[in-house]
């Protein structure tokens, strides 16, 4: 049976959809069968981030309303045979779809996958509760900014009212150079403030923008950080990618100086 993990944040624009897509790819690289489910009704983007927007014929609304069978709505990733997408509709927010509807679909699909990653909408309204109601675990995406930390704290409080197996943190858009120069909140400080286990610390890199819709190149720090995150999710560990390794020591200070001046 698949482990169902909701990727949530509260605050919009922190990278939930990007994290869902890349974590899915990283888990599939480890040989796991992964389904990515977009439950951001009306504002779906997971298909675009995956580069599969042209391949979606049916979505989850079509399945719920009986216009197609579940397997017809699954879209296989072109590069990875063990990675699938179930998209949500893009024509208006559908408040008639309940958490129970989605739960039934996931129960049907569960024996065919190892992981189901649920991309949750921003906010803490019906869409959030609909997504979390289907999940076994939650990963809260947070960036090192005050507003994101504040919203993550509220989301963690809301998640505590659900009987989830675990609630983990993913710190996104970490800048090693700014941490070293004392301009960005440290990953450990966020962990202490939010009192939750950190499953991953993902760097802010230009490659995320340049490879939009594609897999990350293996040589990048982002690829390595996502690999560690996937291993943590798989093995229940909390190993963290060191985002500051490039910026410590003599050459690191030169790198920091160059990056600051650029």
């Amino acid at each position: 049976m698949a482990k169902k993990i909701v990727i949530t944040s509260g605050k919009g624009g922190v990278g939930k959809t990007t994290v869902t897509a890349n974590l899915g790819r990283a888990l599939s690289n480890l040989g796991e069968r992964v389904l990515l489910l977009d439950v951001d009704f009306g504002l779906n983007n997971l298909d675009v981030v995956m580069g599969l927007d042209g391949n979606v014929l049916y979505d989850i609304s079509d399945v719920i309303e009986g216009r197609c069978r579940i397997k017809q709505a699954l879209v296989q990733d072109g590069a990875k045979r063990n990675l699938f997408l179930l998209s949500s509709n893009n024509c208006g927010i559908n408040n008639n779809i309940s958490g129970q509807n989605i739960k039934l679909i996931l129960e049907n699909l569960s024996p065919n996958f190892d992981y189901i990653l649920i991309d949750c909408p921003a906010g803490i309204d019906i869409g959030f509760h609909r997504a979390v109601a289907c999940a076994d675990e939650a990963l809260v995406v947070v960036t090192p900014s005050l507003s994101s930390i504040r919203d993550a704290d509220k989301i963690i409080t809301a998640l505590n009212s659900y009987c989830l197996d675990s609630v983990g943190l993913i710190i996104n858009r970490v800048r090693g150079d700014l941490i070293m120069s004392g301009d960005m909140i440290k990953v450990d400080d966020i962990k202490k403030m939010l009192n939750a286990d950190i499953r991953g610390a993902l760097p802010e890199e230009d490659v995320m923008f340049l490879t939009f819709g594609q897999s990350l190149p293996k040589s990048t720090d982002s690829f390595k950080a996502y690999k560690i995150l996937a291993e943590n999710v798989k093995n229940g560990k909390n190993k963290i990618f060191d985002n500051t390794y490039k910026y410590s020591g003599f050459f690191g200070s030169i790198r920091r100086g160059i990056k600051k001046s650029v």
Partner: protein, 79 residues
């Protein structure tokens, strides 16, 4: 003080304020629950009053109840 230390101080202050703020639903449910528990022990006309004051990262909670009688009873010992 470095910028990140200042941000941590500010974030802690912000989270502290958020965590200690309660909405009307919380307060109403608390009063209702206290009322149902306390009425087994005391006789009173008005609802209990709850006062919460933040003090050095902790919360001092004071419950005030004006009762006119005690509902006395004897409990059987476990042994």
């Amino acid at each position: 003080m470095k910028k990140n230390k200042l941000q941590v101080v500010k974030a802690k202050d912000l989270l502290g304020r958020d965590r200690f703020s309660v909405d009307d639903d919380f307060y109403n449910l608390l009063i209702k629950d206290l009322n149902s528990v306390l009425k087994e022990y005391f006789e009173f006309r008005n609802l209990p009053i709850v006062d919460m004051v933040k003090n050095n990262g902790e919360l001092n909670v004071t419950i005030t109840l004006k009762a006119y009688n005690i509902k006395n009873f004897k409990a059987l010992s476990k042994t």
